[in-house]
Amino acid sequence: MHVQGTGDPVSSGDRAAAVRPGEADRSGAPAPVVPGTFHQGWTGLGESMGRSDGLSRRKFLSSSAAAAGGAALIGVGGPVALAGCASSTSSGSSATSGGAASAASAGVGTGTPRRGGSAILATTSEIDGFYPPSNHWDATGFLYANTVFDPLVAVGADGSAQPYLAESVTPNPDNTVWTVRLRPGVTFSDGSALTSSVLKANFDALKASPLTGIALQIVEKAAIVDPLSVAFTCTGPNVAFPYYLTSQVGYVFGTAMIDAASGSGPATPVGTGPFVYSSWQPNDHFTATRNPHYWRPGYPYLDAITFRPIADTTQRESTLKTGAVDLIYSADPNTVDHFNGVSGYQVVTNLHDTVGEPDMDFVMLNCAKPPTDDLRVRQALAHGLDATALAKLFGGGLEQPATGLFPPGSPYYSPTTYPTFDQAAARSLVHQYAAQHGTPSVQLGTVTDPRLSRVVQAIQQMWQQVGFDVSLQIIDQASFITNAITGDFQAYTFEQFSAADPDLNYVWWSTTTIAAPGKIGLNFARNADPQIEQAMVAARGETNRAARIADYQKVNERFAVDLPYLWLGRTVWSEVSNQRLQNFAGMVLPDGTRAKPFDNGVSFTAQMWMAG
């Protein structure tokens, strides 16, 4: 029942073990981020008022998400973290409960599940549709998807890739061909059967899509093996393949959706999920009712579930307080502060996730455009940026500034030579540069958002203090993204990189995706470091866990040297519920192990229930 692979060093030779490329050990901790969860707008220091992750609410580069699986996106961020705000941790998520309840029990039902009732969940954004090949899913998209669809693979609480709708995902000896075997007897909401031909049709639609095709560039072809099995031939050895199936390209949809999409009409979701689509009015609500034929016996517990997008964080919190919704999602660290320890509420955050890569907030520097193409300038900007002060100003003082891609506790974590805040060193570097080229002028850009505007103003002051001439560029999201893709920027605030496995971020860091300014390139920072490329290529096919970790530690260190990204912190997501909603962070997988409870604003809905 596990994803099988030869690449799991923990169980070398044990083909029944779950594959966790590069992960430490099974007791290790928390799980990675579901790939493909992209965020728009910004979240880190808090959501934008108008549109959160969206900037707002939406999904822009989520394409990549689906795409590289590695999350994409935009806007930006700032410090986050919330250290110390949670009283205990569980599978990488921090959980607290108001009153005297056990802190560790928040979000995990402890009583007897109760069938029936309905729940209303308030999301941070709205989606643009349910069709995986063409719609952009952010956190809300994956919430909806977990309601009416099922992923082939889910991320376990230990970070492993676990079969979900797939019965097994098995590699050949050199990890170049992965065979996905579907569970038998599963039907879609329209009554059609889940078969290998449906999965193949899914693959064809996803591969042909300009949006999701990039995520499947790693797959050369798919072939039907038998009525329930499809063999995916990768372009080379790829031990991370199962993790790609946790992303947008891993959610299986009925062929009726393909037919509807080909007719240019909106595709009503047809899935195998725990709930069946009932109604959707964009920006108002999405309601689904219990799937009486769900393949997981006994689930779901709820008769119906409704999602209400409420973009403004304050209003979302107020709505929870009035009892109009049962649970809210938030990417604003202040939400944790507002509800932590308050009687009557349960708070779960992703604060202590350490496996895979968290969603990072950072300032991205263009390594191909003056003056940030000069390493001394990037070093000076790094030395001049006080991430701790930013965290105090905008993250409630809960942030732990980052010095690399991976947080302490992650198997991939290792100390780096990332520059510390040192204004004297920054001034010295600026003087060196100025002696040759004059005072460096840097344009710092972000998207239109009141909070982000304050963040960049603070950074502007920091950099001006060490001798830079800094101007601000605050523009709309579409223009912002266009500029990032074409390299028409110097310094941009950004939020990106959440991934179940680092390999899903390959396209963002690869030297093969760099383009000259003005040309489209997915390596937005244009950081051309052959050592990074070499390490990532090696890691993709690496079956030895220690060696794979070393590869990504190498990548991390090279970023600390190259400085295409000035780290601010990680994005902190939280879900806050009343005491009636139970088990919103206690999902159990088909094999009885726990799923990652809460993943960058995404949770599973099948096992939630309402207390009497």
Binding site: L55, S63, N283, S318, A324, A478
Partner: protein, 315 residues
């Protein structure tokens, strides 16, 4: 005379609507970027972009695109969203009634408060009641909806629990609940109008009450209430009506903000999303409908002017 006047205004309405459609079309296409950025994201390669723009018809000359779109408009179609594939008319059909209800309710609240208040205070200007009302409304002018809404929610929704903090029940589902849910959003939008309407009407009433025909009415022994309601109010409403008509534009903008703050699904959210994502047809469709609605409202206000004061029609 009246018919000629109305006909002239109707022609102007059509001309203005056409001009607006051209301007909106051009402005939308002048924005940097295009839908391919949103739809394709990082996969916005030249090849993919070319295919997509061809599929969307965006590779054709602007004039041809405009002509195609206008032709569809005359056939009752505003096109389809590039992203959600929803018909633009459907998007507007879902959202517009919410905005209309919001604006209508806010104006009813504004008139219901402003007119009686002005009638009371104008009878005895500069007294304590008048000064209190004037000072209060002056303060309300400085309270935009985005400031007032969180306060209303904190007090009446979270604190007292009288109203929901966000969302409404559709009017088709339950009228009473819908009206109850719309009170806070309508109030947030109405407060600015209350202040403006009150101050205008109060000033005009004070001036009117100095007129000879009011003195004459009083000399005849008419009851003061009758003097105010039957003789002073009507000629004093000209500025009020003019302000109400002009106010529609700002109310629409305010309604969009209120929608966002109260998570009400009007066309404002759809419009903002469409602009961000360069969903041209949605932007054009909504902007056209808003513009035409605005012009029609002005037309109606002008018509009411001719009823209130027939000299307007005479020119």
């Amino acid at each position: 005379m009246l018919a000629t006047y109305l006909l002239k205004r109707l022609v102007q309405l059509i001309a203005v609507s056409f001009l607006i459609s051209v301007i909106v079309f051009m402005l939308v296409h002048l924005l940097p970027g295009d839908p391919s950025v949103t739809i394709l994201g990082p996969n916005d390669t030249p090849q993919n972009r070319a295919i997509l723009l061809h599929q969307l018809g965006l590779n054709k000359p602007l004039v041809q695109q405009y002509a195609t779109w206008l032709g569809q408009v005359f056939h009752g179609s505003l096109g389809q969203s590039y992203l959600t594939h929803q018909q633009v008319t459907q998007i507007i059909g879902q959202g517009a009634p919410v905005d209309v209800e919001l604006i209508v309710l806010s104006q009813l609240i504004a008139f219901a408060v402003a007119i009686p208040l002005a009638l009371v205070t104008s009878r005895r200007p500069n007294r304590a009641v008048d000064r209190t009302a004037t000072t209060t409304t002056f303060g309300l002018l400085a309270l935009p909806p985005f400031v007032l809404a969180p306060i209303l929610v904190a007090v009446f929704a979270v604190g007292l629990g009288w109203f929901p903090a966000t969302g409404t029940v559709p009017i088709s589902q339950n009228l009473a609940t819908n009206l109850h849910d719309m009170i806070l959003p309508s109030l947030a939008l109405a407060v600015g109008s209350i202040a403006v309407y009150y101050r205008l009407l109060r000033s005009d009433l004070i001036a009117t009450l100095q007129e000879d025909f009011i003195t004459s009415a009083r000399a005849k022994g008419l009851h003061p209430r009758r003097v105010m309601l039957r003789h002073a109010l009507r000629p004093s409403t000209f500025s009020l009506l003019a302000a109400a008509g002009v106010n529609i534009g700002s109310l629409l903008a305010g309604a969009f903000i209120v929608e966002s703050l109260f998570a009400i699904n009007g066309i404002g959210l759809a419009l903002v999303d469409a602009v961000e994502q360069r969903d041209y047809l949605v932007v054009q469709g909504i902007a056209l409908v808003i513009a035409v609605a605005y012009v029609v409202i002005q037309f109606v206000v002008d018509f009411i002017f001719t009823v209130v004061d027939p000299r307007v029609a005479r020119g």
